[in-house]
């Protein structure tokens, strides 16, 4: 009995040592830059940058294949952060990608035919409804990415700009000029 335990423990120890050595010897460096870029992006997963989500866009930036100014939800602020992180000059947002006023999609319930196409397009699952049932957008979940507009066959979805009132007004992000610290 004791010898059985010793043998199994011995095998375990030797294998563990080999694997531990191998994990150091064959370590693969995951690119830490991708994680940092991904942390700056707004995670709306809207795909307006032309990549299928924020992480692929971050990977493309890290590889140098994509510009930093392709992210409308991040706005000028996001571009500035990316530029700081990567040590390049900030650029204005790409063509056709100017920051729009924050908006939510609204479905005109009289025209909706319940085709579920917009539900499939929504990246954040903010649209509820079922086949041949009227759909509704949960305004608090909507990121305003406009991906539901093109698939709608009856064009019953439009964007509504969120007006500033007591409920939606937020403090502006403070913008400081950078000062060199001695």
């Amino acid at each position: 009995m004791l010898s059985a335990i010793l043998v199994m423990a011995g095998i375990g120890l030797v294998l563990g040592a080999i694997l531990g050595w191998a994990s150091i010897k064959f370590r693969v460096e995951d690119d830490p830059l991708v994680e940092k870029i991904d942390a700056v992006l707004p995670q709306t997963q809207c795909g307006q940058c032309g990549f299928p989500g924020c992480k692929p866009y971050a990977e493309a930036i890290a590889r140098g294949e994509a510009d930093i100014n392709k992210c409308p939800p991040g706005g000028e602020e996001g571009v500035k952060h990316l530029a700081e992180l990567l040590g390049v000059e900030p650029k204005p947002l790409g063509e056709g990608l100017e920051p729009k006023p924050k908006a939510v999609a609204v479905i005109d319930e009289n025209t909706c035919i319940g085709c579920t196409l917009c539900i499939q397009a929504c990246p954040v699952d903010a649209i509820v409804g079922a086949a041949k049932q009227m759909h509704v957008i949960v305004a608090s979940q909507c990121t305003g990415c406009e991906l539901c507009l093109p698939p709608c066959p009856v064009d019953c979805i439009h964007m509504e700009v969120i007006k500033e009132d007591v409920a939606t007004w937020k403090w502006r992000y403070p913008i400081h000029t950078m000062k060199q610290v001695e």
Partner: protein, 191 residues
């Protein structure tokens, strides 16, 4: 030398691990959709299986002996798991593309019954060290051979006009059965 050659031929063709022993069917059906994956999987399995049959022979002879023979299956599984873990790190470092292509099937080599079956058969047939190595390598080469052949056939089947009830996995199963029948033809090759 002739002995080793005979073992190789016997394990690759006559006693093919998949076709006549019916071991290792999971990767045989799972990784045979594309030719490149099949070749990669075959290479990884060959590496693991050759190493595993060598080490398990050493463990069985020098560590377990007759007294601890009941630990055989347990210790073999542990050793195989360790070797697969090592192979995974090695492939991740040397060929990230192959690593991504093999995906989940790479760690699944651990539970590939052919990889456990061959060391156990080695013990049962009382092979010595070199015979065990060649038996393991032959078994793995046979596995690779049928996997690659099968993948090539399945790639053609994708384009073929298969009647609707036979589409997909069912025609693959039938193909595997026919292949197994064809491998029976090697049965009289070595007396």
């Amino acid at each position: 030398m002739e002995n080793y050659l005979l073992i190789l031929i016997a394990t690759v063709f006559v006693n093919n691990i998949v076709m006549s022993k019916i071991l290792g069917l999971c990767p045989f059906m799972g990784v045979s959709r594309k030719l490149e994956t099949a070749i990669g999987m075959g290479a990884a399995t060959t590496f693991v299986l050759t190493l595993a049959s060598g080490t398990s022979y050493l463990i069985d002879t020098y560590l377990l002996g007759h007294d601890l023979a009941y630990l055989r299956t347990l210790s073999f599984i542990v050793v195989i798991a360790g070797i697969v873990g090592f192979t995974e790190m090695f492939i991740k470092k040397t060929s990230p593309v192959l690593f991504r292509v093999l995906g989940i099937y790479l760690p699944l080599i651990t539970t590939n019954c052919a990889v456990l079956g061959i060391p156990l058969l080695n013990v049962m047939e009382q092979h010595n060290f070199m015979e065990s190595l060649f038996f393991g390598m032959g078994g793995a080469l046979g596995f690779t051979l049928v996997l690659v052949l099968f993948a090539a056939m399945r790639e053609r089947l994708e384009a073929a006009e298969v009647p609707k009830p036979f589409k997909g996995t069912s025609i693959a199963m039938i193909t595997a059965g026919l292949m197994s029948l064809a491998f029976m033809g090697f049965a009289g090759l070595i007396k």
